[in-house]
Symmetry: C2
């Protein structure tokens, strides 16, 4: 008699525990989101495999921590993982990553367009805002901003379904002598670089002409607006242009 009750209780418990397990698997922590985002961006929007060390580098953590987290992400179905062979995102992982990046970039637009931030101030705050969970919030924000396609640094904003519009941009470094281009993005988004660009009146949309290239140190002279300035190889390798 008692044993029957006990057995049925145990079966109930088993179901409950299984159910809780499913819920836990469905939840995603802030840390997990950050790993997934790093894998997405290091792997060119989730298309290529990335190494443990590169993730550790990007997140300023240790390789052993990355291995631990990768295993958890693999258990939860966000990444494919073979020991020693690096990881790549599953469809599920790509969706999560694209959502986080979408939120990050929309918030950046909001900060610049509505709250008077400059493009070198928004990254840090968007790193926090990208983890806010509310579908309605992000869709309303998108509407408020009139459905922007690029963030203040020229990076494309994934749409609701995670698709991203690729633009055919190249690094200014690769532009030929005499060629013209429009500045459409930056690779380095650090405040230091962005402030340098502000100082020299280089902004998204600026018309740039390569006046001359110097073989010795790969520096170049470019025309920007009225004036001409000399920029280093480092600058040229961090500015994206669309060929005109």
């Amino acid at each position: 008699m008692f044993s029957i009750i006990l057995i049925s209780m145990c079966l109930q418990m088993k179901k409950i525990i299984y159910f809780c397990g499913l819920i836990m698997l469905a939840m995603i922590t802030l840390t997990e989101e950050n790993y997934i985002k790093a894998i997405y961006q290091l792997g060119k929007y989730g298309t290529v495999t990335v190494s443990t060390n590169s993730i550790a580098d990007a997140l300023d953590t240790k390789a052993s921590s990355v291995t631990d987290m990768i295993k958890k992400l693999a258990d939860k179905g966000y990444v494919n993982y073979k020991p020693y062979q690096g990881v790549n995102l599953t469809q599920k992982g790509k969706k999560v990553a694209a959502d986080v990046v979408r939120k990050h970039r929309l918030w950046e637009v909001f900060l610049v367009e509505k709250l008077n931030f400059s493009w070198d101030e928004v990254h840090e705050i968007a790193e926090q805002l990208e983890h806010i969970k509310s579908e309605k919030l992000i869709n309303e924000l998108d509407k408020l901003l009139d459905y922007p396609t690029h963030d203040p640094h020229g990076d494309p904003i994934p749409d609701k379904s995670g698709d991203i519009k690729k633009t055919d941009k190249i690094l200014l470094f690769n532009l030929e002598e005499r060629a013209k281009g429009i500045c459409v993005g930056v690779k380095d988004t650090s405040p230091a670089f962005l402030k340098y660009l502000d100082k020299h009146n280089i902004a998204l949309g600026s018309n740039i002409t390569v006046l001359s290239k110097e073989d010795f140190d790969d520096s170049m002279v470019i025309q920007i607006g009225e004036g001409a300035i000399n920029i280093s190889q480092i600058v040229a390798n961090n500015l994206f242009v669309k060929v005109q």
Copy 2:
């Protein structure tokens, strides 16, 4: 020779460790902020002492967890704590709490005013947004919203220095028969209650007249706009009015 180098290195280390300790003390975690906020609100904006159990209740956690956290908060100088006697906030704790509440309420206004949310949808999201750290962000948000003084539920928004403007509101329950009032806030902010109010056309700013009170169950009939409705004691005890 070697020993001198060793000793000077040890002294350096000691300084560094001390410095890191200071930094750790300065940082505040999301969890700590939530405890401090709960103590602030349970203790009527930090004016009275609150018990361990009431905090555990508010945060849906166990009393033993609260004790642990309280000790940490006391170490960091956010609360005054005598074992078995409850806690109250220090000046430092009050500032933190007021900042979090300020952010929470400003974000709620933003969601309703700019992103088309209704007052019963904003609490959960504001719980997330209140932890975003950026002074400029919150001040710009304040400006964008034209310096609101109350959130969508009628609760006052602390100013930059943490001061809060108290309004002389009373519960509708305490309004005399025949008396008139203006609805200025809600005590219960649950979606269920707020939706009830929406359904019966009761909103902030509505004119209310008490037509009659029923001794038996403390229900009352009130006039709201054109019509009259019967409300329960529970409703009357969760609506704030300003006497006219």
